[in-house]
Amino acid sequence: MTRPAIHQLVPSFVPGDAIGSHVRRLRRLLNGAGGQSRTFVTVAHPNLKGECEPYRKASLGADDVLLYHLSCSDSMVGWLLNQPQRLLVDYHNITEPKWFDRWAPLAAHDMRLARLQVASLASRTEAAIAHSRFSADDLLSHGYGHVEVAPLLFALPPGADRTARPVPERGARWLFVGRLAPNKCQQAVIGALAAARRGPDPKATLTLVGGRTVGPYADELKRLALELGVEESVRFADHVPDAELDAAYRNADVFVCLSRHEGFGAPVVEAMARGVPVVALRAAAVPETAGDAALVLDDDDPAVVAAAVRHLATHPDLVARLREAGLVRAARYAPEQAGPELLERLLSLAKLG
């Protein structure tokens, strides 16, 4: 008898996107474990069309299990509610709309709709996976009965440069990676850099890698840099190819994350995997992702953040400790460790293991 398959359903299937990458890796794992997993989508990037099928044309077996990747509002939810198959949810978190009301009201509206869909799926969902306790709590608050925390699958570099490299006292290169979005609070990083440059590190620079998804907010960030007199020291790198992203991490002296809403915070792990010390704000899922391998601050005041980076510059022993702890932390998320853990959890939830 063939084992029932776990099929993945994803609204938007895009290469290079965190969810797209997670879905592809998970499909390989599911198929490697003897399943016949297919991917159903609402829309897909042309390069991925051979890997997926439109959900409306899905022919499913009665015993199949559906795994819906929930990260935005989508018409697929209405269809899902009427399918007889068992349903699992893989929750990638939905940003609180309040962050987007000011800059992108349409996006905020979509987030509100998505939150309604989260609630509407609660009674239909047998069990859910979240990638942080923070996200799991969000699902539980929406009435989900069974939620487990399991790793997100994403690429990490095979080996980090373990050579101890101190944070320089002058000319430290700060980095943050994440799309230019209000919940990620790049303005706080720019403000902290300005404080550092007016304080003990007048040569500090900042690279912000990330696509310009919210135009008015991105424009305001550039205006802020100009207003604070740091426009020459802040580089807006937009989307970059993987090789350039890797170079950005490897050239950075410190990774500064002051994001207020992250469902996981993959760039924090990516920085750790490359041996870059992390300074982060205690907000949303970031502290649990970073664990004890980052300098986690309770305050994103520019002076406090600048002082934290300065503290690293004057304490190479602390940097070395953070780097070692970061490498250990990142190893937990490496695909060879995270993949089997997620698969086991999923099969157990689907009671197929």
Partner: protein, 138 residues
């Protein structure tokens, strides 16, 4: 507790090192950063809602050109140049409409505030009359 957790706490408590003198510079930085904070709406908060409208009242006719592919960037640039005459004209009209709506919204908010003040005054006078009536008939 790892040593760096204690360091982070100390940083938060001390807030500043000697190299970061409190003063106009830092105050300016904090104020500038704060200007980009989200506008949170309480139910019925007309003025904050108008603040949100104000953020989008000026329409930018310059569509973004960025793309991962240089050829697409060039194509977008050509398209933008070809259609700018129309886009600019529409942007100006929509911007003017949005600003007129803001003025109307502000006038409505003023009127609501005035009516609330008047109704509060009337309520106070009614309460006073009731008290007097109770006293005179009691």
């Amino acid at each position: 507790m790892p040593a760096h957790t204690a360091v982070a706490r100390a940083l938060g408590e001390e807030a500043l090192f000697e190299d970061y003198p409190e003063g106009p510079d830092l105050t300016d930085i904090r104020a500038a950063v704060e200007r980009l904070a989200p506008i949170e709406l309480a139910p019925g908060d007309v003025r904050s809602a108008l603040g949100l409208v104000a953020e989008h009242a000026t329409i930018n006719p310059y569509a973004a050109l960025t793309s991962r592919h240089p050829a697409i960037t060039r194509l977008k640039l050509v398209t933008r140049k070809l259609t700018f005459f129309v886009a600019h004209s529409i942007a100006v009209q929509v911007t003017e409409l949005a600003h007129a709506l803001l003025v109307a919204g502000a006038a409505t908010a003023d009127r609501i505030d005035l009516l609330e003040m008047e109704s509060n005054q009337v309520r106070r006078e009614l309460d006073e009359l009731r008290r007097r009536l109770d006293r005179d008939t009691g």
